[in-house]
Every structure is written in structure tokens, then in C-alpha cells.
Amino acid sequence: MTTTGNRALMLEEPLLFEQDAPGRSGVDLPEPEDPVADRLGGLRRKGRIGLPGLSEPQVVRHYTRLSQKNYGIDSGIYPLGSCTMKHNPRLNEKMARLPGFADIHPFQPAATVQGALAVMDELANWLKALTGMPAVALSPAAGAHGELCGLMAIRAALEHRGDARRTVLVPESAHGTNPATAALCGYAVQSIPANGDGGRVSVAALRERLGGDVAAVMLTNPNTCGLFESDIVEIAQAVHEAGAFFYLDGANFNALVGRVRVADLGVDAMHINLHKTFSTPHGGGGPGAGPVVFSDTLAPFAPLPFLVHGPEGLRLAETGPAGAMPFGRLKGFHGQFGVFVRALAYMLSMGGDGLLQASSDAVLNANYLLARLKDDLTPAFPGPCMHEVLFDDRFLKDTGVTTLDLAKAMIDEGLHPMTMYFPLVVHGALLMEPTETESLASLDQFVATVKALAARARAGEAASFHESPTLSPRRRLDETAAARTPVLRWRETG
């Protein structure tokens, strides 16, 4: 241990609140003009807020040091299954910061934002072309928000035809957002088995559950086991025959772009995570954007606002074309415009040919991991896989090493771990999604490292796994203590 607690480039950094000097500020503002009678009606704040005072150099250093405790896709491979951590092009960032896009107010007169509306229109057209679907709602802010948009449209469509159904079917391998969304939309959730055909939804089992009470089936394709639901067309038919709607979770759309149009699968609604498939940054948790494409049946129920073409160009309207029956509004303003610009910059850069190559390379990279690791790890299903590959923890049996231990040992090796313990349909899941932006050299290094770790586990080195990570800014954190006695903010002591 060093005197400072620092270790070379790993610098300890106190909280902002521990660096306070009252009165200090990182901005220079003019004195307010000669005091006028205020219009606060006696509601002026009394007493200090408690915000710390720091200068600009302190703030810049603070966040620079914090950033150095983070791993990003810029640092190295980030193979989080179901998260599509691909390269975030910097052109996207530059474009989103053009003053004509960044510095426009959501309620400017339409004539002054024709370029922004054209971006939304162009993005909508790309999404419709890539999916074959006739309509798109741009406003959802993320994947889960898009799911809500889809289910609300489904519920509106059912209510419109006077058909109150109360159940949504979700495979047990689904993302947790699917059942949570269905519940938020007022539906009872029933789980359907997802191990029918080696990790897939069984059409027969699904048919048994379908009935007059089922409003929708939510499916992810490729599913969270990294497998294409081969019976999807038949599933869609069965769903429609039962009078229900078919919702596709588009989180894994990266495997299909340019190769499969969801319209051809019989889908009624699907969200698209622009922050996964279309390269906009995750930003440590967000923001994202989750536009939803709709079939003709659901299109009339899409939410406000509408982007309409008129004699004076484009405008955002609160009333739709004839026949529109919007289910309501999902978001303040008009959606994640800054994310739209980034996604469109990516689409224009990649083009139709590049997007097809990207999905091909994404699938190739995942299959390469499967091929190279299949003898050392235990694949949950035989290949080929789609854009992500699922292993279970049978290869760790009797080693005393768990999936979690392996992940933590990967951290010491400078790798970001894969998704762990999801999906729930296999034991000790390790779900790896390399994406198309990983080079062969990067994959080879990843493979060699994981093989070496698996060999160490088999060689009885469990103790060192349990200690890991030892080289990261922090070692394993006590999550039990954090949850038992939550400390969710800094407080002045003494």
C-alpha cells in the first residue's frame, strides 16, 4: 500500500462533497443587477442547500480520475450478451453537436426546425425499410419504454374491437423487462417454456396456452440463448389465429439487420434499441432510444406526436391522419432527438451494404467464439448461434469456481466479463456477445485468456479465483452490506 492509497494511474478520489470550500465556484457569473422587488411571493429559499464549492481544475480532475476507474468499449472487448456493446463512432457525436441540432428548442416554430424534422423523417424511413413495417413511433426513450409503447398499442387495439383480454405470454428466457412491461400495462403474465427445441419456444406448448384471454405474445428473436426462433412464422400464425398480437423484442436485432425483415415474420410491433443495434453510446446506463415499428393493424393506435408532411413542409401534430386513434403520449417533447441524429449518422455511414456486413460479422464473431471455446467451456446448445453464444457452468463442475468467480478473474486479465446468470434457462449462464466491431486479434486474445482461466479452474486453483479481482480499482464489493443498510447519498457528519 502506498502513502496516498494511489497506485500509479489508479488515483483515489474523494467525493465532491469532501472537497468543498464555501463560496468557491467553477463558474464566473456577473453580479445580479440592482436588486428589484422579487416576484417570489415569499418563497425564497432560506438556508444553505449544501452543494460543495469547487474550482474548474478540481472538477476536471475529479471526473478525469473517476473516468479512469471505468471500463468502456473504448478500453477493450465488452462482450455483454444481449447488450450489443459495439463501437460508438465519434462522427455520431460530432453530428449531434452541430448547433443546428444541439441548440434547438423543442417548441420552436416548425418553419425553424425543418432540418430536425427531416432527420426524424429520414430515420423513420430507414427503420421502416429495414423492418418492412409500415409505421414507426419514434418517441420511446429506451427498449423497455418501447415495449410499453407496443403493449399499450395492442391494448388500445383490443379495446377498440371490444375484446378485453387479460394475459400476456412471455417465454421464461425473456428479458425481465418483458414481464415487467406487461404487468405495467395491466396484464397478467404467464411464462411459457423456452426449452422446447434446444433453447427455443415450442410451438406446441405455445398453442396449448393460447386462448381467448391472451392479448399478446412477447418474443425475443434471436432469443436470449442466441438462437433464432426457427418456428417464428408458425408462431406468428398461431398467435394471430388465437386473436392475439405478436410483439417482438428487438434487443437482438443486430443479428438480423439487412437479412430478415420482421414484417415477413408476421410481427405486429417491435422496438429497436438505437443504443444497441445502431451504435449510439450507452453512457454508463443511458440515454437510449427505443422506436417501435408497427404493422398496419396497430399503426392507427401509435402514440402522439405525429410527424406529418404538409404544404409547408414537415410538422409535429397532436392530431393524426383520418382514422388515427392514438393511445396517448409516452414522453415529454418529441423523443430522444440527439440519439436519432447519432443513429442516422451511423446508418448513413454503414449504408445498406455495411449494415448487412455488420450483422454477418456479428454472427461470424459469435460463432468463432463458440468454435474456439467449445472444448474448454460447455456450450448450452450446439451451434451455429446467432450474434451471441451461450455457455453454462458444467465445465466448472467440481472445480469450486463459479460463473461469478470466472467473471471476476477476467477483470484481472483486463477483459470486461460477459453477461452472467442470464438467461435463467441454463445453470450459471455465461452469455457472450462480441459484436462485429471486435477484431480477430481481440477475439483471439479473449479466447486464449478464457481458455487459460478454464484450465486454471480445472487445475484446482479455486482459491485464487475467490480472491479475484485483485488488480482493479476496487476488489469485490460487499453488496449484502450495501442492501442491508442502504447508504444512498452523502451526508454531512459531525
Binding site: L16, V27, R44, I49, Q68, G100, G285, G286, P287
Partner: protein, 448 residues
């Protein structure tokens, strides 16, 4: 293709290792009927310069607010953002990381979110805040849904002074779980009676401060009535800077405070992405939506941070989760937090004061124009005025003179003809004395 590292040789070698004859073979599980047989009719890939040219041309078609006197608000307020904010959020370790699922290599995100939670709790006067929601409107909807869970009641009362998008999003959202929403008529002159409508079936009352039309409310009495009836008081804040000058909602007895942080976090970007602020009382923390960062120690006893109380969330609790939210607004929350760190107590309160004094000064000048009446008696940096003509027409006439002169309320409430003459005018520190002169002169001309 500059984003794709694999070469043709790489691909061939990899197929060899896989033992597949072609990439097509890897897609064998996709039934032929579902596969496209020809490439989609989309333009081919382009270099940076071409993309930049195309998008710059579109950007040039917009009037950026910095190029015109801008008095637009209505939930999105244009403030100056210190250069350090945008620089720091573009560090790749912040920009390109995921939700901090592996805390050992995510302490940067986690510590900054812990600081964000603390800042939000401090300015709202609440005990605990989460790590962000999508935006203010969805945070408002989540607050109403949470109030229904906490109280096990279904009636949600929405003030007419609440932003119309917040009202619409909340009504859309909670209706699906069986809540009954009573939205009072838009209330420019602040005469609605909320207290008289609270009863023992009310889950929550949702108000906004400063109100959509500008009014500042003292919600203490309403809070008392809510609590006596077993209901919660939700306060929405669309302009977080106001909290630098005004008594915090928490000090007035609010149970949940939600807000939109966009105005302090980044460029307006046509309204998004923003960042939803969500704060409440400690005793409700297990009913909160969204991610929470908590402090703990690592195996060596050193202080560190983790995501905590995750059993509320969808990835564990599935259909019983408090919300379906997963992705939030992490990077915008970071920008908000960096800006707050730069401002500090002194800067935050002074910036608020500057906004208010400028708004008071402009209101006094506008009130002298024939036919213009300032509606509220109290406000922070935005107030409604009534005009002798439909506000939308006046706004177009001002736009023709190169002035973004305010937001006509009819944009949100076309069904209320009496609101046609009402215009919202916001004044921030970015409005110069010349800008104010321009508005006064142009408005005088337009109304003459």
C-alpha cells in the same frame, strides 16, 4: 467499411475454424421463407465527409436558438453550459460504458451517480434520489404509479398547472394499471381548488413548481391535507434552476419530487435526451423505480459503490418489479452532476438569481406594451402573458423577424379557445439586454 475490423482473410480463416462453408451457413436456422433474397434498397456506405455534408446541410435548415433572441421555455430552458461539461462526458470511459453491472471496474460511473443522487436530494430537499429516469414527464408518471402502490389507492389528481406533456404521459401511463386520473383544467390564473378535492380515496396530488403558467405555489397546506387523508403529494419541477432560489419542495412536505434535468445538463437537442430526476422519502425507498447506487466497502475495506436494492427492478423481480425501466439517462445525469459541481452553492444560487431578475425586468417592460398583460403575480424565470391576438400568430410574426418569442399555449391545448391569446415567455441568463430590446420592439410592432 471503417467500423468493421475483419478482413476478407480473417473471415475465411474464421469460417475455417468454425468448419462452416460460408457465412450464409451460419444463418441456417432462419427458415428460407423469412430470409431476404435480395439486398434492401438502401444507399451504400459513405465516408465521414459525405455523411457530414448531408447532416450539416440538414442542421443548417434549422434556426439554432443561439442565433436568435430566444424566449422559449415550457419545460425546456436554455442555459449556458460550461465547456468542461461536454468535454468530460465525452471521455470514452464514461461515454462507452454500460450500466455498472461489474462494480470493480465501474467505480467511476457509480461514484458519479452517488454524487448525482446526493445533489438531487439536496436541491429538492428530499432524503433520497435515484440514479435517473428517462425524463421529467416519465418520472412524473412513475411517481403517480408509485403513489398508487404506496397508498394502495387508485385516484390520481393532476393540477392544471402541471405541464401538459407531464399530464398526458401520466394519464396514459397509470390508466393501464387501473388508476383513475382526474386532470383539472389548465389553470393560467391559479384558481383551482386542489385541497377541496383530496379525500380518502386519493392516492396522490401532482402539482408543478414553478407552475406551467409561471405561478409559484406554497404547497405546505396541500401537503398537510394530503397527509391527513393518507395521500401523497408529488411535486414536479421542470426548471431545476428554480431550486437555487426557491424553498425546496421537500421543505413544503412533498413526498415525491420529480423533475427534468435537461436544462442544466446539456444542449436542448430539440427536447431530448433529457434526464428525469426522482426523489422521495427514505421510508418509500423500496417502492421507488429505477436504479440506486449505494455505498459499501470492498474486500480490503476500502469505500466503494454498487448498484443496490435491485430486488425492486425488472431483471430480478420481473412482473412484480416497481417499474420496467432498465436503460435510464446515465450520461445526461453525469452532465447534470458535472454542471452542478462546477456551479456549486454559490454559482447555482447566483445563476438562479440572475434568471429571476432578468425575468422580472422583462415582465415589467412587456406589461407596458398596449394589450399585453402579465398573468401570474409570482414567477421564477418564465411567465404567461395574454395578448390581444392569438399567440401562435404573434409567435410566427416574431419568428419572421428572427425572434423566438415564446411558446403559445394553444400548441398544447387547442381544445381551449380561451387559451389562444396566452403566450409563455422564458428569460434565462442567455438572454441579453439587446435580445430583450428586440423582443419589446418587435412585439410592439406586431401588436400595433
Amino acid at each position: 467499411m471503417r467500423y468493421l475490423p475483419l478482413t476478407a482473410d480473417d473471415r475465411a480463416a474464421m469460417l475455417d475454424a468454425i468448419g462452416a462453408p460460408s457465412v450464409e451457413a451460419l444463418f441456417a436456422d432462419i427458415p428460407a421463407a423469412a430470409r431476404l433474397t435480395a439486398p434492401l434498397d438502401l444507399p451504400p456506405h459513405q465516408g465521414e465527409m459525405a455523411v457530414e455534408r448531408h447532416l450539416t446541410a440538414l442542421a443548417m435548415k434549422n434556426l439554432s436558438a443561439g442565433c436568435a433572441p430566444c424566449f422559449l421555455g415550457a419545460g425546456a430552458y436554455r442555459h449556458h453550459l460550461p465547456a468542461a461539461v461536454d468535454h468530460l462526458i465525452q471521455r470514452g470511459e464514461f461515454l462507452t460504458s454500460y450500466t455498472p453491472y461489474q462494480p470493480e471496474i465501474s467505480q467511476g460511473t457509480l461514484q458519479s451517480l452517488f454524487e448525482f443522487q446526493t445533489q438531487v436530494a439536496l436541491i429538492t430537499g428530499m432524503e433520497v434520489a435515484n440514479a435517473s429516469m428517462y425524463d421529467g414527464a416519465t418520472a412524473c408518471a412513475e411517481a403517480a404509479a408509485m403513489a398508487c402502490r404506496v397508498t394502495r389507492r387508485r385516484r390520481v389528481l393532476l393540477s392544471g398547472g402541471l405541464h401538459p406533456h407531464y399530464r398526458a404521459v401520466t394519464a396514459t401511463w397509470v390508466r393501464h394499471t387501473g388508476a383513475e386520473v382526474e386532470a383539472l383544467a389548465p389553470d393560467p390564473i391559479n384558481i383551482e381548488d386542489l385541497i377541496g378535492r383530496v379525500d380518502d380515496e386519493t392516492a396522490c396530488v401532482v402539482v408543478q413548481t414553478p407552475g406551467f403558467f409561471g405561478h409559484l405555489g406554497d404547497w405546505s397546506a396541500l401537503a398537510g391535507v394530503c397527509h391527513a387523508a393518507g395521500a401523497l403529494l408529488v411535486v414536479a419541477v421542470t426548471e431545476p434552476l428554480s431550486l437555487g432560489l426557491l424553498t425546496a419542495p421537500g421543505a413544503m412536505g412533498a413526498d415525491i419530487v420529480v423533475g427534468e434535468g435537461l436544462s442544466l445538463a446539456g444542449p436542448l437537442s430539440f427536447g431530448g435526451p433529457g434526464v428525469g430526476l426522482f426523489a422521495t422519502r427514505d421510508r418509500f425507498v423500496r417502492q421507488m423505480p429505477g436504479r440506486l447506487v449505494g455505498q459499501t466497502v470492498d474486500a480490503d475495506g476500502r469505500r466503494g459503490w454498487v448498484l443496490t436494492l435491485a430486488t425492486r427492478e425488472q431483471h430480478i423481480r420481473r412482473e412484480k418489479a416497481t417499474s420496467n425501466i432498465c436503460t435510464n439517462a446515465g450520461l445526461v445525469a453525469l452532465a447534470f452532476s458535472i454542471h452542478m459541481a462546477l456551479l456549486g452553492e454559490a454559482g447555482f444560487t447566483r445563476l438562479a438569481e440572475l434568471n429571476h431578475t432578468a425575468a422580472v425586468a422583462l415582465a415589467a417592460r412587456l406589461a407596458q406594451i398596449r394589450g399585453v398583460r402579465v398573468v401570474p403575480s409570482t414567477w421564477f424565470n418564465e411567465f404567461a402573458v395574454t395578448l390581444p391576438r392569438p399567440a401562435a400568430e404573434v409567435v410566427d410574426a416574431l419568428a419572421a423577424r428572427g425572434i423566438l418569442g415564446g411558446v403559445p399555449v394553444s400548441r398544447f391545448y387547442p381544445e381551449y379557445p380561451e387559451l389562444e391569446p396566452v403566450l409563455l415567455i422564458a428569460v434565462t441568463e442567455t438572454v441579453s439586454a439587446d435580445d430583450m430590446d428586440s423582443l419589446v420592439r418587435a412585439l410592439t410592432e406586431v401588436l400595433a
